[in-house]
Amino acid sequence: MEVKINTEGAKTLVELNGRIDTTNADQFQKDITPLMQGDAMDIEMDCSGMDYTSSQGLRIFLMLQKSVGSRKGKLVLKNMKAQVREVFDITGFSNIITIQ
């Protein structure tokens, strides 16, 4: 799983590539910890390179969503592949996290 974080003015752009599964979920969490601890308000994640997310990945997205929400910011996941979108849909997570 590759995570690239770029800040452009008030917006934080994150590029996600690869799979989030049991083998790398901890690393993924570490990689996005700066987004949870920082003061980033608007986070936009480009998921076009993301191939899969497991439940661990969903939990991490949820933690990030809560963290951003607590500072009145917004998390948006974009360009999701159909198979990843399906994971969000069947677990109801597309009702919780904004997906564009």
């Binding site: 497991s54 969903l58 994971v87 677990t91 109801g92 597309s94 009702n95």
Partner: protein
């Protein structure tokens, strides 16, 4: 400004005591905020100020002989509490009476001063002292302060009236006085209507809560208040547990309120309709989830999966097809291109389990 010697002496006393008034302001302001917060009162603003020297000089120039010393002037420190509703003014007044020493001889309820056929400045003014036992400095007890309590609409009227440059009715030219009083009457009526509306809404919520608690769902129309009360009964927990058991999943309790607009657009009219949805379609909703989740290792789900699947299977059983599903997703999160492919995917899954 030409002040006589007596007024100049009062002004000197003001300059000397100003730091004391600043400390009093901190004490009184803090106490009022505590009272409002402890009693969960709904106020739109609280403010306090110490009268400016220029303003005091103006007052002394007009009626300096009325005051023997600075302590005779009761509004050097002034506080104002602005509420949304008239009832709050009375509640705050009662708490001010309880927590401060009110000088009744100098306090004025402007609301009661007006004749039945007159409209104008409406505000409650209490002249108070900090109780001696709560004065950090005994000297604070010597000086009184004013607390003004009024509604937001009364405040608007008073502020505009003040902005026009008139402090009393007597100063206003007759033609303008009539117009200002007409507006005062209109705002008084608006205050009364807002209070009535609030009371009616409160009554409605109480009735609905009672009907929901009694399970009298067919008598309860579906709206924001009733849906919220219904959700407090946790009606979807059995279905959620059943779906969660497929993968021994953790249930994340997300907000189900966004589904209200979906349900209303699907023409559900009462909580009774929701009960029937739950009763008649839970098996289908479970089967859809089983088809989607079994074979995956997903062990977390949102509570909203229950309503999501219930709405989907209901629409499919009613023959709404792909368009019906797309309508649900569009109602939830706005029109998105991806909603069509999502609807098609669910439609295909539903076909496999004979829901369509």
């Amino acid at each position: 400004m030409n002040l006589d010697l007596h007024s100049e002496m009062i002004l000197d006393e003001y300059r000397e005591k100003r730091p004391l008034f600043e400390r009093m302001q901190t004490a009184v302001d803090g106490e009022i905020r505590r009272i409002v917060s402890d009693n969960h009162l709904y106020v739109t603003a609280m403010e306090s100020r110490i009268k400016k020297e220029k303003s005091l000089a103006g007052k002394l120039e007009l009626k300096g002989n009325k005051y023997a010393t600075l302590s005779d002037i009761t509004d050097i420190l002034g506080c104002r509490i602005i509420t949304f509703y008239t009832e709050e003014v009375d509640k705050i007044a009662a708490l001010i009476e309880k927590n401060f020493e009110v000088d009744w001889d100098n306090s004025v309820d402007k609301r009661r001063l007006l004749d039945l056929d007159r409209f104008g400045y409406m505000s409650l003014h209490y002249i108070c002292r900090l109780p001696l036992e709560r004065c950090k400095e005994p000297e604070m007890h010597e000086y009184r302060f004013e607390v003004q309590m009024r509604t937001a609409l009364q405040h608007v009227w008073a502020t505009i009236n003040h902005d026009l440059g008139y402090k009393t009715d007597i100063e206003i030219p007759r033609e303008h006085l009539r117009n200002m009083n007409r507006i005062a009457g209109m705002l008084e009526l608006a205050d009364e209507q807002f209070s009535r509306i609030r009371m009616e809404i409160t009554d409605y919520r109480r009735q609905v809560q009672a009907l929901v608690a009694d399970g009298d769902f067919d008598r309860v129309p579906l709206d924001g208040d009733t849906f919220r009360s219904y959700l407090e009964l946790d009606p979807f927990h059995k279905l959620a547990d059943r779906i969660a058991s497929i993968n021994q999943a953790e249930i994340y309790r997300d907000n189900l309120m966004p589904y209200l607009q979906v349900l209303l657009r699907m023409e559900f009219k009462t909580l009774g309709d929701l009960e029937r949805l739950l009763h008649d379609y839970s098996d289908d909703a479970y089967q859809l989830a089983l088809h989607q989740i079994s074979g995956t290792d997903l062990d977390i789900m949102a509570l909203s999966v229950t309503l999501q699947n219930l709405c989907c299977v209901y629409a499919l059983r009613k023959g709404a097809g792909v368009n019906g599903l797309e309508f649900i997703f569009n109602s939830l999160g706005g029109n998105k291109e991806v909603n069509h492919s999502r609807a098609e995917r669910i439609y295909n899954q539903a076909q496999k389990i004979n829901i369509v």
